[in-house]
Structure formats: C-alpha cells, structure tokens
C-alpha cells in the first residue's frame, strides 16, 4: 500500500527552531518523542483523559496525543524539557521535589506543563482554581494533595 506523503513542518520547540518531515497521521506526542527526540513527554491513555502528554502550543495547554504533528507548522511548543534553565530548576519543579509531589513520575511532566500554563497567566490561583485547572491530569500515586500544595508553593515562591 502506498503511504500518504510526509508533511513539512517548521516549528519552535522550547525556543529552538525545528524543521522536520512528519507522517501525516503521526500524533504530536510521537513527533516530539520519536522525531524531536524529547522523551520527557509521556504517553498515558492515548485518548485525552489522563493529561500525561500535556504540552503547550502557543501558550495553551493541550493533550499532545490528540494533536497531529502536521498541525503545528508555525506554532511554538513547550515541553517539560523547556522548564528548567541553565540556572536551575523551574520553581514548579523545585516545589514538586520539596513537597514530594511525585511517586512513579509518569504523570509529572504533564502536571508540570499544565501547572505552568496556569501560573503563567494567574500567578496567585486559589486551591479550588488549581484543582479545577488540573482536572485533566490524572495521578494514581499521590492522591493530588501534594501536587496541589507544590503548585501553591511555586506560586508563592515566584511572587
């Protein structure tokens, strides 16, 4: 069978210009992991329920399993690898460590990117707002309280 033609995509990932040919049916999640080689973003449910694959596109968080790589031409993407700088961890990453907001770690990149999406726009969210915002991210280890506390701590730390 003849496979459909690859799509030429020019995008920015974590501030770096990237250019690649992507199979038109490949998800953004696989594009980021297999083509860009950034394996921090995790595959969880592969149907938009768990948020493990959360990345941001032009500042909006999305489930990258429900986006095609071909759709991000001209867009700017942030993955978990884009959070830390040469100076050190992002305040959210530091707070997750201090509050023990992770156990197995599979959900953590998604939670970090999602929480960054909140704090970038709302630096001082209420606990209710944090819980509502993170409803699209599932964690089966922590029971969520530690994650919520870590986000609150990071919000306070960045004031």
């Amino acid at each position: 069978m003849e496979l459909p033609q690859r799509v030429h995509v020019r995008t920015t990932i974590n501030g770096q210009a990237q250019e690649f040919l992507v199979p038109p049916y490949m998800s953004l999640l696989d594009t980021i992991r297999e083509i860009a080689g950034l394996t921090g973003t995790k595959e969880g449910c592969l149907d938009g329920n768990c948020g493990a694959c959360t990345v941001s596109i032009d500042g909006r968080i999305v489930d990258s399993c429900l986006v095609l790589g071909a759709e991000v031409d001209g867009k700017s993407i942030t993955t978990v690898e884009g959070l830390a700088t040469a100076k050190g961890l992002h305040p959210l990453q530091q707070a997750f460590l201090e509050e023990a907001a992770l156990q197995c770690g599979i959900c953590t990149p998604g939670f970090l990117v999602a929480a960054k999406g909140l704090l970038d726009n709302e630096p001082d969210p209420s606990e209710e707002r944090i819980r509502h915002w993170l409803a699209g991210n599932l964690c089966r280890c922590t029971g969520y309280d530690k994650i919520v506390r870590a986000v609150q701590k990071a919000a306070t730390a960045s004031h």
Binding site: Q5, L68, A135, G136
Partner: protein
C-alpha cells in the same frame, strides 16, 4: 490506525471539494479530540483528514447587534474567555466551560461537538435553547438547518456527502433572556453526562412572566431532545410559579427516552432530568433578572 493524508485547505470551497472527492473516507479535523480517538479505535478508516483551522471563516467570532456567529472550528476557550459573549450567551458559556478539562477546551469546540452527534454531547442542548442555526456548505452551495434537526442518530448527523459545517449562528438575546446548562456526572469534571438539561427563558419587560422558553435534554435519547411540552408548560406563567416549574420538570422527564447502561438506569436518568430541568429553569430566570 489507517494511514491518512493531511490536507489543510484555505477556503470553504477547497474543503468541500476534498470532502466531496473522498466521501466518508475523509473527515474534517478541528480540535481532533473525538476524531483522533475514533480513528485510532478503528471506528472508521480514513484516507484524509481535512484541517479546517486554516480557513478564516471557520475560526472567526462575530458578535454584533443582530446576533452571534462563530466558526465551526472555534475552540471552547475562545468562547468562554470572551467576556461579552459569555455574558450575552450564558448557556453557550456553560457548555464551553465544562466540556473536558483545560487541555480539551484548548482544542475542542461546539461545532465539532455538534457534528460528533453523540447523545451525551454537552454543547448541543445549549445551542438549541439559544435558538441556534447551523450554516452548512456543500457542493451545491450553502444551506441552513436548525440545530435541533442536525443530529439524526447516535454519531450520525444531517451532513450529506461533501458537506461541511461552516458556522453556528444565534439571534441576539433580549435584555430579559436567560439560559443555563448543567449535567449530572459522578465526578466533578472530565466525565460524560448521565443526563444533562439546558433551559432558556425570555421574560416580560417587568421580568415577572415567562414569554418564551426552551428545554433541551442530553444523554436521555438517541439524539439530543428539544422537549417542546416542557417549554410550553412555562409560557405565560409567572417565573416564580412553582406549579408551572414542576409541570415543566414532569414534561421533560416524559420527553426523556433513556436507556439503562453503565452510566445510569432509565429510572435514575428520568429523575435527573426532572430535577435538573427545575434547577435550570430557576437558574435561567435568575440570570434573566440579573
């Protein structure tokens, strides 16, 4: 998943030509939050997906004196973050802000929710109670269809070969209009409605009497239901008339034809419809008065 091509037309005419050529082997992609899950699940084999987000008309929101029109690809967040739109079209705001989580709302829109035509679609009842009209483009030109006639069965809609939903449009609500949508789910967020009810009312100028009313139901029939008898039970009645509100609730429960499945039983769903209808009438009235 069947390997498909990616086509991103710039105009409605190009999109219609591609859809017409491929028939049911091609589907439009807006948010992709249903389409990609279904394609992966083997519900259909596609030769092409048609990305409609490069077509300006499908991405635009026009909210003016004569009413509201938004493109079929507009994602939920652009509706509820638009303060003027959210205030004027409260039922639409309710739907846009409770579908999925934040990640889903970044991509999914009410146009896709309508086309997906699932009985539990949270967006469809609110479109109906806001007197929505679907603008459809096809090989033969454009046509319009009332939203309540758009869904024809579970996962089936009125679009014919080569047709594309272009936009949804709504008359401008009067100053005494109010609407609300709520669903019952066992969780707080991120779930599929066991039952959902949308209500709109238009009150008299003194805000005491109900002049117009619509009640629409989700997840209790093969398609979303416009419960006409429930709306009719309110017309001409005082907006505080508990007997009329109870009668509307009973009429809505009667219009519900649910099934028993893993989410709920027939009895539970009918009960939920009655309770939610009464609540949504009160909420719509409260919003109409504020």
């Amino acid at each position: 998943m069947h390997p498909f091509a990616y086509i991103a037309p710039k105009t409605v005419e190009e999109a219609v030509a591609v859809l017409n050529k491929h028939g049911d082997r091609a589907r439009p992609i807006a948010g992709g939050t249903d389409l990609l899950v279904q394609a992966r699940g083997g519900r259909f084999d596609l030769d092409a997906v048609v990305d409609i987000k490069k077509i300006p008309e499908l991405e635009s929101i026009k909210n003016g004196a004569s009413g509201l029109e938004f493109g079929a690809a507009v994602p939920c967040y652009q509706l509820y973050e638009n303060k003027k739109l959210a205030a004027e079209y409260p039922g639409i705001m309710d739907a846009a802000s409770l579908i999925g989580g934040i990640q889903i709302q970044s991509r999914a829109g009410l146009g896709g929710n309508l086309c997906n035509a699932t009985p539990s679609g949270d967006g469809i009842g609110p479109l109906i109670v806001h007197y929505g009209t679907a603008v459809i483009a096809g090989p033969g030109g454009r046509r319009e269809l009332a939203v309540e006639k758009f869904c024809t069965g579970p996962g089936r809609n009125a679009l014919k070969k080569g047709e594309l939903l272009v936009s949804l449009k709504f008359p401008k609500p009067s100053a005494t209009f109010g609407a609300a949508y709520e669903r019952f789910i066992p969780r707080n967020e991120m779930d599929i409605a066991v039952a959902g009810v949308a209500v709109s009312v238009e009150l008299s100028a003194d805000k005491k009497t109900i002049k117009k009313a619509r009640v629409a139901l989700a997840s209790v029939a093969p398609t979303p239901v416009l419960a006409e008898a429930a709306g009719a039970a309110l017309i001409g009645k005082s907006a505080d008339d508990e007997a009329a509100i109870n009668a509307a609730g009973a009429a809505a429960a009667k219009a519900a034809k649910p099934i028993t499945d893993m989410r709920g039983t027939i009895e539970q769903r009918k009960h939920l419809v009655e309770v939610l209808t009464k609540r949504m009438i009160r909420k719509a009235v409260e919003r109409a008065r504020s």
